[in-house]
């Protein structure tokens, strides 16, 4: 059986998560442009999500 595919997804606070590719994406979440196996998606998140502060916190601080 094919390995299940996941998407890297992001909300408006620029928090990342992963989501099964064949499931409807919940409201308020967007495809972050990366798909692959679960491990590949998590590795991608590890690389791109460098600041875990929500966007609203980052914007006030800077």
């Amino acid at each position: 059986m094919a390995e299940p595919r996941f998407l890297v997804v992001r909300n408006d606070e620029e928090q990342y998560s992963i989501w099964s590719a064949d499931r409807d994406l919940p409201a308020g979440w967007h495809d972050a442009g990366f798909a692959g196996s679960r491990e590949e998606c998590l590795a991608h998140v590890e690389a791109v999500w460098t600041d875990l502060r929500p966007r609203s916190v980052r914007e006030v601080s800077s």
Partner: protein, 1039 residues
């Protein structure tokens, strides 16, 4: 004298006989076949017609007998049997129907003993112009095809009697006993082995039990008590099922089965389900016209894995059913013995559910109040039913199983391309209930920082006592001022929002001052337990990357580097006024982190959970509302690195209460009177003496809690509320809680965890993230204000555990706890353990808490823990107990209350259960049980009864050495041999020993104990004279 002939029993008769032995007083195997004679047939003729049928079919003249351990069928020569008649025509109409119903019910409910001919009962009843026959017959000699044959022949002989013509009934080339002999001959030796090999392969690795959503734990011994829910399929559904089947090269039965498999998978969480179906067992023309018992159960194993579409599942069910039916003649009893020889009397072997499709026959009008399966559907074109085991299910649960089955089936047939996971189980109202009403609000509006909360309190009650630690006592004003001074030092050294400050501080006043100072500076505090090993402290300090480390002179060496030393003078020259944003490196907001706590998951390195002020303020607001005791004195006894302590630390400081800082076993903990609030783990409960027990709120968290653990404490403190709080660190201290008010009754067993706190939303979801129905086990997900930000500098881990939430406001996340839970009918949550450490022994899922609570019910067990150990390879259950209980008593107690697979095989007595620094049970520190005393574990039989049982086992099983602890089935016994063993024992001791005694007590010592009990009971019933006579007779017998 009536002549008799004996023949070997058929496999089906053997199976029914054995099952019947488990509860011989039950009418579970009664089959009712009522029939109405044509007008014009009088009572004498009707009786003669019945007699003609009985004369033709030996099965109706057959009973069963155990002859020295072998089951035989005894066929008697034909002789007319009188049928009682009752003419109801003289009675008033209303009374007539009632009398008829009563007769019918009484006949159907009266057990038919298998060893006394005949195995049927009949009545002729006259209501109007025709005679009605009530005919009830034991399943051992009759099946559903037999019912059709019976009715046909009754009709044929009646017609013949009315017309004088000869009856049009088929010739019977053989009789049932001929079939049985032929079957015994066919299914033996290599052929039987070949068939059993198929079944062993087919069922290899299948779950021993489908995890149905039970309302009650399984009793140690199954009975036949059952009930049924009758229902009608929606109009047209069977037609649409037929159309789907026709287009998929399948039968309507396969569609019904695929729907049932899908339902079972969805409500059990198992993707591998085994369902019982049956074969008619009439494969040759000769047996077609015979009345008799031919049916053989067949196990249909359905793979629901990989989330197939319904069409795909239907294909799998079709192939599986065809395959199973091809091997349908293998005697089911033989399969059971080949697969599951050590059968557990609490669970029906191989399958626990079944589905029959009998489109053309109606349901029996009489409800027997019995069941063979846990759940069994009989689907007909008219009224259908679900029969359920009342030991396990409430009626409301059975009704919801029916509703969900019909809903799922209807949707599947409407859109067969839908994946099984997307088929609906809930209606709209139920969805709203589980996703909205029961999930909780999740937010209480805008939230302040915890700094605001503490400062508000300090301003309101400056002279109240905030802290007591040994002989140090600080007022709110003093504590707040000290914290402000230290905070200014920390800010000057770089601490501020989004930075962390590590606290390497023991339980001392400085700890509280430091926690507040870090928060006031805007930074997050990271507690470092000074009792931890150096390596762990070093890891934590490097992982947390703190801007500063605070230590006391005596703890500085633990942390290395250049910590900020708190020496009583630190910040003494600074202003004691509250800090404003202008004093900080950046403005402090409610979504800045307040603390980072490290948790060790079951795998990998400990990870820092980042909790923001918003989440903490939400929890504290709920806690202040829920725990009035926080305004009094709390005892803070556990390390602050454990998030359970947040309640007793920051709770009182935002409620005007006093924090008493002391170890739980120190005199200081007891100084100053009982605290009003105390939070502990269940493992602490035995320590709560009269001086330590709180006066207002006892909060228990951190581990699963049982009613047994609490019962003693509640009995001595009836006026204190107890709250069971559940929550992972990732959802801030506690996100679900159950309050048991003073005097409120509390059941034994696991205490529910209750309902979501005001700042949390809680969902129970299945693997496809669908909400599960009430009663069904799901994984617990938490969303809402109390959610942590994530794991410090662990983006992938955060993304993996904090998922997009499909159910709340857009863009929100939900935390996957890895915990399993279930909702009661009122929405209350029950905690069921971790998803990833479901314990299995011999393929059976074990709930350790269930065993622990039974151990705790023993009066001499003070504390108990159960663990699964694999010290000797095979995983086994080990019970640990503190107290004076004798192992033998404990085993006997457990065996009475629990299914055999839940009784630990070894016990270890401990002086105390080992605890972690946080007060939780330290499972890793539980010792291995000592190896069995005499090397190979052989314990020679000790009493006369044990010697007898051991000798009988040894002889029947051809085993050389049988010890007191040996199990009949483990030694290679099966039901048939068991029958012989019991016959032998009965012959030796002359007591009434039912077959079920062997199933419930297969171990030599246990069965011997049952025998001794029975002998004692029988002696008790004798009068003194009779006993004296017996003793005298004994003396007279020459030695």
């Amino acid at each position: 004298m009536t002549r008799e002939w004996t023949f070997p029993a058929s496999f089906a008769q053997e199976r029914v006989w054995l099952a019947n032995q488990l509860d011989p007083g039950s009418p579970v195997y009664n089959v009712s076949t009522p029939w109405r004679f044509p007008a014009g047939v009088d009572a004498a003729t009707a009786a003669e017609v019945v007699d003609r049928v009985v004369a033709r079919h030996e099965a109706l003249r057959t009973h069963l007998r155990a002859d020295d351990g072998a089951l035989v069928q005894v066929v008697r020569e034909h002789e007319p049997v009188a049928i009682p008649t009752e003419d109801l025509r003289d009675r008033p109409e209303a009374e007539r129907a009632a009398r008829f119903a009563a007769l019918r019910t009484e006949l159907a409910h009266t057990p038919i003993p298998l060893d006394a001919p005949p195995l049927w009962r009949a009545r002729l009843v006259r209501l109007d112009d025709a005679w009605l026959l009530l005919f009830v017959v034991h399943h051992a000699v009759f099946d559903s095809r037999s019912a059709v044959l019976l009715v046909d022949e009754l009709a044929a002989f009646s017609r013949a009697a009315l017309t004088g013509a000869s009856a049009a009934v088929p010739e019977l080339p053989i009789q049932y006993a001929d079939f049985a002999a032929w079957q015994r001959d066919q299914l033996a030796g290599a052929e039987l082995d070949r068939q059993l090999d198929f079944w062993k392969r087919h069922l290899a690795g299948a779950p021993a039990v489908t995890r149905l959503p039970l309302d009650r734990p399984r009793p140690a011994q199954l009975g036949f008590a059952g009930d049924e829910v009758r229902f009608d399929l929606p109009d047209g559904l069977l037609d649409r099922i037929g159309q789907l089947a026709a287009g998929a090269a399948a039968t309507p039965y396969m569609v019904l089965l695929a729907g049932f498999a899908a339902l079972l998978s969805r409500i059990s969480g198992d993707t591998d389900v085994v369902v019982g179906v049956s074969t008619a067992g009439r494969d040759t023309a000769e047996v077609m016209p015979l009345i008799g018992m031919f049916v053989n159960p067949v196990a249909l194993r359905c793979d629901v894995g990989g989330d197939p579409s319904f069409t795909e599942l239907l294909g799998r069910v079709r192939d599986g059913l065809v395959d199973a039916m091809e091997h349908g003649q293998t005697p089911f009893q033989r399969i059971v013995e080949a697969i599951d020889p050590q059968r557990d009397p609490s669970v029906q072997p191989i399958f626990q559910t079944s589905l029959n499709f009998i489109p053309d026959s109606g349901l029996d009008p009489v409800e027997l109040g019995t069941t063979k399966d846990d759940l069994a559907f009989d689907v007909t074109a008219g009224q259908s039913r679900l029969v359920y085991r009342t030991d396990l299910f409430d009626r409301s649960t059975a009704e919801s199983v029916v509703t969900r089955y019909v809903r799922l089936l209807d949707a599947a047939v409407t859109d067969p391309q839908r994946p099984v996971s997307a088929l609906p189980l809930l209606d709209d109202a139920e969805r709203e209930l589980v996703l909205d009403v029961w999930a909780g609000a999740g937010t209480a509006g805008p939230l302040p920082t915890v700094v605001d909360e503490v400062q508000r309190q300090a301003a309101a009650t400056p002279d109240a006592t905030a802290l007591v630690c040994a002989d140090v006592r600080l007022t709110y004003a003093e504590l707040n001022t000290a914290a402000n001074r230290l905070a200014r030092v920390l800010v000057a050294r770089g601490a501020g929002p989004e930075t962390r400050v590590a606290l390497a501080l023991p339980r001392a006043p400085e700890l509280l001052v430091a926690v507040l100072a870090v928060l006031k500076a805007g930074a997050a505090y990271v507690p470092v337990d000074t009792g931890y090993p150096a390596g762990r402290i070093a890891y934590l300090l490097s992982d947390a990357e703190p801007a500063l480390v605070l230590a006391l002179p005596e703890t500085a060496a633990l942390v290395g580097g250049d910590p900020v030393l708190l020496d009583g003078e630190t910040g003494a020259d600074r202003s004691g006024a509250d800090l404003t944003d202008a004093d900080r490196t950046a403005p402090l907001r409610a979504d800045h982190p307040a603390y980072v706590l490290y948790t060790s998951g079951s795998t990998g390195r400990p990870k820092g959970v980042v909790v923001e002020h918003r989440a903490l303020a939400a929890y504290l607001a709920w806690a202040r509302d829920t725990y009035p005791g926080l305004a009094g004195t709390t005892l803070l006894h556990s390390p602050v690195s454990f998030d359970l302590t947040v309640t007793g630390l920051l709770g009182p400081l935002t409620a005007g209460g006093t924090v008493r800082l002391a170890a739980i076993d120190s005199p200081q903990a007891r100084a100053g009177g009982r605290p009003s609030f105390l939070k502990v783990t269940p493992s602490h409960l035995p320590l709560l003496d009269a001086e330590l027990s709180p006066t207002t709120d006892l909060v228990i968290g951190g581990e699963a809690l049982t009613g047994e653990q609490l019962a003693g404490w509640r009995a001595t403190h009836p006026d204190v509320a107890v709250v069971n709080e559940y929550g992972p660190t990732e959802a801030t201290v506690g996100c679900v809680a159950a309050r048991i008010g003073p005097g409120e009754p509390m059941a034994a067993g696991p205490v529910p965890i209750g309902r979501p706190t005001a700042g949390a939303r809680v969902y129970l979801l299945d693997a496809a993230l669908n909400p599960v129905p009430p009663g069904v086990v799901g994984e617990l997900y938490v969303a809402g204000d109390q959610l942590a930000r994530g794991y410090l500098r662990r983006p992938a881990l955060t993304a993996e555990r904090f998922l997009p939430c499909p159910y709340g406001p857009p863009g929100q996340r939900m935390y996957r706890t890895g915990d399993l839970a279930r909702r009661r009918a009122d929405g209350t949550l029950d905690y069921l353990g971790r998803r990833d450490d479901q314990v299995k022994v011999r393929g059976m899922r074990i709930e350790l808490g269930e065993i622990e609570s039974v151990m705790l019910a023993h009066p001499e067990v003070r504390e108990a823990a159960v663990a699964v150990r694999a010290d000797s390879g095979e995983p086994t259950l080990v019970g640990y107990h503190v107290g004076t209980a004798e192992e033998a008593h404990l085993v006997a107690e457990l065996a009475r209350e629990l299914p055999a697979h839940l009784v630990p095989t070894a016990f270890v007595r401990l002086d105390a259960l080992p605890l972690t620094p946080n007060g939780k049970l330290d499972r890793a520190a539980l010792p291995a049980p000592a190896a069995a005393a005499s090397g190979d574990g052989h314990v020679p039989p000790r009493t006369d009864a044990e010697i007898l049982v051991a000798e009988v086992y040894a002889d029947i099983l051809q085993v050389e050495k049988v010890g007191a602890h040996d199990d009949f089935f483990a030694l290679g016994g099966n039901s048939l041999r068991g029958m012989r063993a019991m016959a032998r024992i009965r012959a030796e001791v002359d007591v009434d020993l039912p077959m079920r005694a062997l199933f419930s007590s297969p171990v030599v010592a246990d069965l011997a104990a049952v025998i001794e009990q029975r002998i004692t009971a029988e002696l008790d019933q004798l009068s003194d004279t009779e006993v004296a006579a017996l003793l005298a007779a004994e003396k007279d017998t020459p030695a």
